[in-house]
Amino acid sequence: MDLATILHMQPEVMLSFIIIILLLGDLIIRQPNHRIFQFMAFGLLVVHIASNLTISDEVLFGGMYHSTPMASVVKTILTVGTLLVILQAGPWIRREDTRHKAGEFYLLTFSTLLGMYFMVSAGSFLMFYVGLELASIPMACLVAFDKYKHHSAEAGAKFIMSAMFSSGLMLYGLSLIYGTVGTMYFADIENALTGTPLQIMAMVFFFAGLGFKLSLVPFHMWTPDTYQGAPTPISAYLSVISKGAAAFALMNILLRVFGPMVEDWSLLLSVVIVVTITVANLFAILQSDLKRFMAYSSISQAGYIMLAVLAGDEQGMASLVYYIVVYIVANLAVFGVITNVEQHTGGLVDREAYNGLYKTNPRLTLVMTLALFSLAGIPPFAGFFSKFFVFASAFHQGYYLVVFLALVNTIISLYYYLLIVKAMYITPNDSPVPTFKSGPLSTVCLTVCVAGIVMLGLCSGVYELLQHVANL
């Protein structure tokens, strides 16, 4: 191993350096000031994104690390998403009880991001597992960041419990695979798989483990409690970045490793998709707490993302990544509005608090409306296009019934998204949330999100680029 090999892992190495710089900064700066860290984190991340815009195909360390062209694109997307989360987290981290921990916040966030980097560019289950744990454990600290609040601490405990349990399941599955084929490298496993019952069992365990991360039904129980308890920016981060990375990793592994067993996992996945979308939609209708609501919404969105995995070809890969991009901007816009309202009303996240919001905060309401329409898949917003491509890719492979059931479910989801629109525009309220002005950074974040919601669909460039990369 020489230095040159390590330098090929440029994104990972660079992110590690950023983490070290932040760690040193946290140690050295005597009077910790949240602004310094915000500035540092933001600047370093921008530099990081700018210097990693290349699309590379690297196989290093004997296949342990394999960054496909799509993986390098996904890393950039995740980093941009993280940048947006950091922008919205500003008002929250500035509070009295958290501002002295600002350094830790960025440190932990970037550590999970590094873990996701390794997840998406793993070439062996060992590497994948290390990445997964690196993405999970700091995440638990983030969820429990407001540790003096009962809810947050409880959410952290729930998260770490379920993360450990799912890791356990996955490790069991991996050990079965190692037992039957004698290797951990993706490339070797694919050739050695024969589809014996033991291997099918291993695949199911592995799938269940990752199902927890993706919060697919029936592994979704932790999601609503965690999203509700965690600080809102962390819920946002959890719902888009963490989920996006896990979805891509799942597709990558199902295709590259379990490719020969496609008959087995496609049936399993079809059932899980339909159940996930339906159950999550039905539960989402009942929620009045918006963070819980978004948790169920994100579960159902994960089901739609899985349709692209089901397709399992280049078109599916492109639609999956495109869906993640669109989902990131739309969901972050919703969470951005929730954070803003929460900060300016002393913690209101109930749907009733949004009654009559249009009268007092028209711009914020418009952002929320566009984002919800995008999540519901209404044209001309990006969500329509991403849903269409996902459906088209699964339909192309002949999964007519699954696509049909998913389509019927979009109507249910439209119902509950419209409930919020109704609250904001129609329901009368004598004492709506007072007019307030959101901070500059959060405004920038919301503007970027809205631009994404409107432009990502109408401009075909992004999808065509992803399709091009997927074909490489």
């Binding site: 696509v403 109507i411 119902y415 129609i426 075909s460 999808y463 065509e464």
Partner: protein, 493 residues
């Protein structure tokens, strides 16, 4: 740039203008300029189209253009018009123009109202100019979603319930539609989503058997196909005046147009297999809608059920699959669009004064507001098919065409559907007699005033169109039947 793209570009500019306008007068200025421009454009397009056709151009679509959009999926932004789309564009432009005047005094949030209204019209115009399945579907959905807020915020009565029901049912239809579109695209193994290219390919019969009903039901929901019509009475009754006009006048025509242009044109074998089944449903729509209208007491509900009956007649005529009946179907779309818009406009104006739409509480309006009452009589007579007005031309063509289908089953259906004319006369004459004539019993109503200038303008425009179509139907009928020919020759070789 293609001339047809202006139909989308002008409303987009209107959105921009509305966004930056600060006062109600500026909003009105923008909307009047924009809708007039659209009307002029539509008139000019019709004139040019007729001229080009008379010049001997026999291409199926004129003014075609195509720009690649999503190349990996062969999605293009393709536009083109034939006679059917030209008259539909003209109809939409007229309704949008008159709708603007009918909602002149809308309160509160005038600017937001017109923003959503304009977005709705983008969807309608975009749908009629498109020849690409994906773009059509996109514009179709763009036209649906503003309805939720337009009804929910500015509506009356059970508005929240009606708005949600309407949106969910129509979106449910579009879920079927999307299945059908994907089925056509992947089923035919096409490398294009353009209608004119797709029609040259043969979609396997098995695929047609599955996907024809999906598309037909998908569009049929919007065309008030029984039993999917239940959104229509609630939705129309709760919507503000101009939205009822646009929705019943134009949006419901998207359904019939889509059934004809996508379902039957691309999947003729599917139409042959499923035709009889859907014919029964449409016959039920026609008769059931008419009977329901008889027992209603709310003016808007009466007209909404009447729309179910008349729109059912559109689908009915299409499924009869003769040249004359299909021409009749398009004429009926045009005629119903104009007269139902006139009806809803008048009902809105009467309701704005009396604050009730209950037939039992209205009497003798002819003396109090003669202008509106005369308009109402004309609309009613057009609706029941009096010669000289548009309804007669359309229904005559429909029933003559339907009778040409010599099959016994089709004959029986035709006879049953024809009975709806009588029922229509019952509910129209009953209402006209009840609310317009007699003596006014409510002293409050005696103080009411007749129509203001903006209302008169809207009503006169529509009356002129209804009478014009009734008196000189030939040129419209010719334009339509020329364009029906290539489609119908796909269905009956």
């Amino acid at each position: 740039m293609n001339i047809l793209s202006l139909f989308v570009l002008i409303p987009l500019l209107m959105l921009l203008g509305l966004w930056i306008s600060r006062s109600v007068n500026q909003v009105r200025g923008v909307i009047v300029c924009g809708s007039s421009a659209l009307l002029l454009l539509a008139a000019w397009l019709t004139y040019t189209y007729v001229t080009v056709r008379q010049g001997g151009n026999t291409q199926e679509m004129l003014f075609t253009d195509s720009v690649s959009w999503y190349a990996p999926l062969n999605i293009c932004y393709s536009v083109g018009v034939d006679g059917i789309s030209v008259v539909m564009l003209l109809l939409s432009a007229i309704i949008v123009f008159t709708g603007t005047f009918a909602s002149w005094k809308i309160q509160p949030m005038t600017k937001e109202y017109f923003l959503w209204f304009t977005l709705l019209s983008i969807g309608v115009f975009g749908f009629f100019i498109s020849t690409d399945l994906f773009t059509m579907f996109m514009f179709y959905e763009v036209a649906l979603i503003p309805m939720y807020l337009l009804i929910g915020v500015w509506g009356s009565g059970k508005k929240e319930y009606a708005a949600m029901k309407l949106t969910l049912m129509l979106m449910g239809g579009s879920a079927f539609l999307l299945m059908g579109i994907l089925g056509i695209y992947y089923g035919s193994g096409a490398t294009t989503m353009n209608l004119l290219e797709l029609v040259k390919l043969h979609i396997p019969t098995e695929m047609q058997r599955i996907f024809f009903p999906m598309i037909f039901v998908g569009f049929g929901v919007l065309g008030a196909l029984f039993p999917f019509h239940t959104w229509s009475p609630d939705g129309h009754a709760s919507a503000p005046t101009a939205v009822s006009m646009l929705h019943a006048g134009v949006l419901m025509k998207l359904g019939g147009y889509g059934c004809f242009r996508i379902a039957m044109y691309l999947m003729p074998e599917g139409a042959a297999i499923w035709g009889d089944f859907f014919l029964v449903l449409t016959t039920i729509s026609v008769v059931y809608g008419a009977f329901s209208a008889v027992v209603q007491t709310d003016l808007k509900y009466i007209n909404a059920y009447s729309s179910v009956s008349h729109c059912g007649l559109v689908l009915f005529a299409l499924l009869m699959m003769t040249r004359v009946s299909c021409t009749g179907a398009i004429l009926q779309m045009l005629s119903h669009g104009l007269m139902t818009a006139l009806f809803f406009a008048l009902i809105g104006m009467i309701y704005g004064r009396t604050h009730t739409r209950d037939v039992r509480e209205l009497n003798g309006l002819m003396k109090i507001m003669p202008f509106l009452a005369v308009g109402y009589v004309i609309a009613g007579l057009a609706n029941l098919g009096l010669p000289g007005l548009s309804g007669f031309v359309a229904e005559m063509t429909v029933f003559v065409g339907s009778f040409q289908n010599a099959d016994l089953f089709h004959r029986v259906c035709t006879i049953i559907a024809t009975m709806s004319i009588v029922i229509t006369a019952v509910y129209i004459l009953r209402v006209v007699g009840k609310i317009l004539y007699g003596t006014c019993k409510n002293p409050e109503h005696l103080k009411l005033t007749d129509a203001t200038w903006d209302e008169r303008f809207a009503v006169i425009c529509l009356v002129v169109c209804v009478a014009g179509l009734g008196l000189a139907p030939y040129w419209v009928s010719n334009v339509i039947s020329e364009s029906v020919e290539p489609i119908i020759s796909q269905i009956i070789p």
